[in-house]
Symmetry: C2
Subunit: 391 residues, 2 copies
């Protein structure tokens, strides 16, 4: 039995998510927007019966059993944790900071019977499902290098907001880079041990953002990850990705069609996902072969949502349907269909890598990726000062 | 009047160079090979009247006025410097070390009336000539990022030799990366101030190299250059490239067709050279436009010589013809047609960058690019030891 859905957010992802959910038979009962106007406008457009700007009104809505959170990163943690506390299943986007991500992990561990996934749609894209499968089957031999690049137009909103602000989770690294960090770990079955990166903000002001306001979030970034042993233990093979170099290049000063390319190179061949299609070439073979084309399906490129994300989102919603439909209870779900999803633990790892890359860009040095195992004490600095004064 | 030519080298570049020279009307009088057999075999194949394994026999050959040196890097300095000393014009490839490159600069400065160029064919490729021109004309607006990538099959020779040995100038960074370092400086009119890099040797042994022998040269590298003020003062515009980030990815574990792509991104658009063709896209324009196709011309891809290098070599030989043909003396030449060539000073800069990238790969840190201004004293270490013992 499919659960009723409440959607948080009125941005481009929320806008494409609602029709995808309905296409799979989910009913969307409630919509939350930052302001009454935004919520009302999109609810009317999409024909959603209830809208609000009060998060509790959605969380406590009796028909809502699954909460999808696609809002600005600084608000994500609060709503996700509260939703779990009220006993709702949660699909959300990344948090703003590692501390937030840690709090989400704690909540998810406290309610293990509830679904809690960070909805990185790329993991569900058929091209990457196939790539992971073929990596495990040894298509490329021993994995050596992963190379990902995404080029596209500016990620900034029309008006000043969190997308402009590095500390609020804006910028290419946080928004798009994090999905690649997650994907590469998922594909290789390994986690970044050390990272090195370079971030730039080339466009500090534009027609909409001027005067005393400046963009602080990155529009260009470039980072390397040296992968170590198996992370979540759920990767393709165990530790096949140990010793692998991953390089990621992101450039959002390139209006026009999105370029979204992920290549994995090994001793015996390579696999390349260009957009939503998968290509492969074996050493000694007859050039590149198309391994998986784009079957078309749900619509064309939507503004601000690159095709790989859109298609992946569609596959993720389908997986959610399979996870819920055979269950008798509206809130029960089967793990199998969503086993490949990114967990909140994965979300914490990703956030840790993103912060290490930012640190590296400031320090100019390789930075270790050390995933938090306990929440930092917010009074620690204060305690240290008291300690010093006592002596 | 065209000068008679002597060619050093029997490798793939020398093999394609001889027909190109003849195609423009140059006569090739002499060929040097590392061994009598190699020299004799290629001389016979190409119909070159004289061959030898003694370098002086070519350098002192009365019909040779222009010496083209395409040999292993550790031998380049010695032959280039000697050739200039004997009064011959020199076109050569890069040296093995910055110290060698510095000695070549000293020799070139001592004989300013002689032609002395490091034959980086990419500078002459019509796609890059056009790219540089359009950069100067502001096609991309304010330049932000350059991104170059070359993927191809292994650079190792069939048998153990300098290509396997990092210290002898083997490896992707030294062989191919150096041509990109030179090109990016030429295109942007700026020089790298700081670099960061990562080098890997994924294939340490193969069918031909085994037992106690191991490959030490890199087959994968990845480096960033932060560009500073104008270098040679001959770039497109003056200092347009200051503050630009350049990223270079080289992977030579990818059998099949070479991928050779150089992209420059600015505030108003971008230019992309794919292989020998140039594409451009202006922000707000109607997608990508082909700006310069490949006119075909001299043959197809030759084994071990990527098409951009082959075509560039053809254009360079044509430029050499124009430099010499209007002159009365066989050894005189006009600067104009070869003004865009890489000088020995450029060669020293490139070698300095290559060494800084290697240093960065070992240290893990950003390294400054400091071009040598005087030859390091080979006795310096000894002196320091004596100094210490005296105290």
């Amino acid at each position: 039995m499919l659960p009723g859905v409440g959607v948080f957010g009125t941005g481009s992802t929320a806008r494409v998510l609602v029709p995808l959910l309905r296409g799979e038979g989910f009913e969307v009962h409630a919509l939350w927007g930052r302001s009454e106007e935004e919520a009302s406008s999109l609810a009317q457009e999409l024909g959603i019966p209830f809208h609000t700007s009060q998060s509790d009104d959605v969380l406590l809505h009796p028909d809502v059993d699954l909460v999808c959170i696609y809002i600005s990163p600084p608000l994500t943690r609060q709503i996700a944790v509260k939703a779990l506390g009220i006993g709702k299943n949660v699909v959300c986007e990344k948090a703003a900071t590692a501390v937030d991500a840690f709090k989400m992990v704690t909540a998810a561990q406290y309610y293990p019977q509830l679904l809690s996934i960070v909805g990185n749609a790329l993991r569900f894209l058929p091209a990457f499902v196939a790539m992971r499968q073929m990596l495990a089957e040894g298509y490329v031999g021993e994995l050596q290098v992963c190379d990902a690049r995404v080029y596209g137009p500016s990620l900034l909103d029309q008006s000043y907001g969190w997308t402009c602000e590095e500390l609020m989770g804006g910028g290419g690294l946080h928004t798009v880079g994090s999905t690649l960090v997650d994907l590469l770990s998922h594909l290789t079955g390994a986690r970044a041990m050390r990272v090195h990166g370079l971030l730039r903000t080339f466009v500090g002001q534009n027609g909409a953002i001027h005067g005393i306001r400046r963009v602080t979030s990155d529009d260009f970034s470039f980072f390397q990850m040296l992968m170590g042993g198996s992370g979540s233990g759920r990767g393709a093979g165990t530790g096949t990705g140990s010793g692998v170099c991953c390089t990621v290049t992101l450039n959002f000063n390139m209006p026009g069609a999105f370029v979204h390319e992920v290549m994995v190179v090994g001793s015996a061949g390579r696999l390349i996902a260009r957009g939503t299609e998968l290509y492969g070439q074996r050493n000694g073979g007859n050039g590149e072969e198309l391994l998986l084309g784009d079957s078309g399906g749900t619509g064309q490129e939507v503004k601000d949502v690159p095709l790989p994300h859109l298609r992946g989102l569609g596959s993720m919603v389908t997986a959610l349907k399979y996870a819920f439909q055979a269950q008798e209870e509206r809130r029960s779900w089967a793990r199998g269909p969503v086993a490949m999803a990114s967990t909140f633990e994965d979300g914490l790892y990703v956030q840790t890598v993103v912060e290490a890359v930012k640190r590296s860009s400031r320090s100019g040095e390789w930075e270790s990726v050390e995933v938090m195992t306990q929440e930092p004490d917010p009074n620690q600095n204060l305690c240290e000062v008291l300690q010093i004064n006592k002596n």
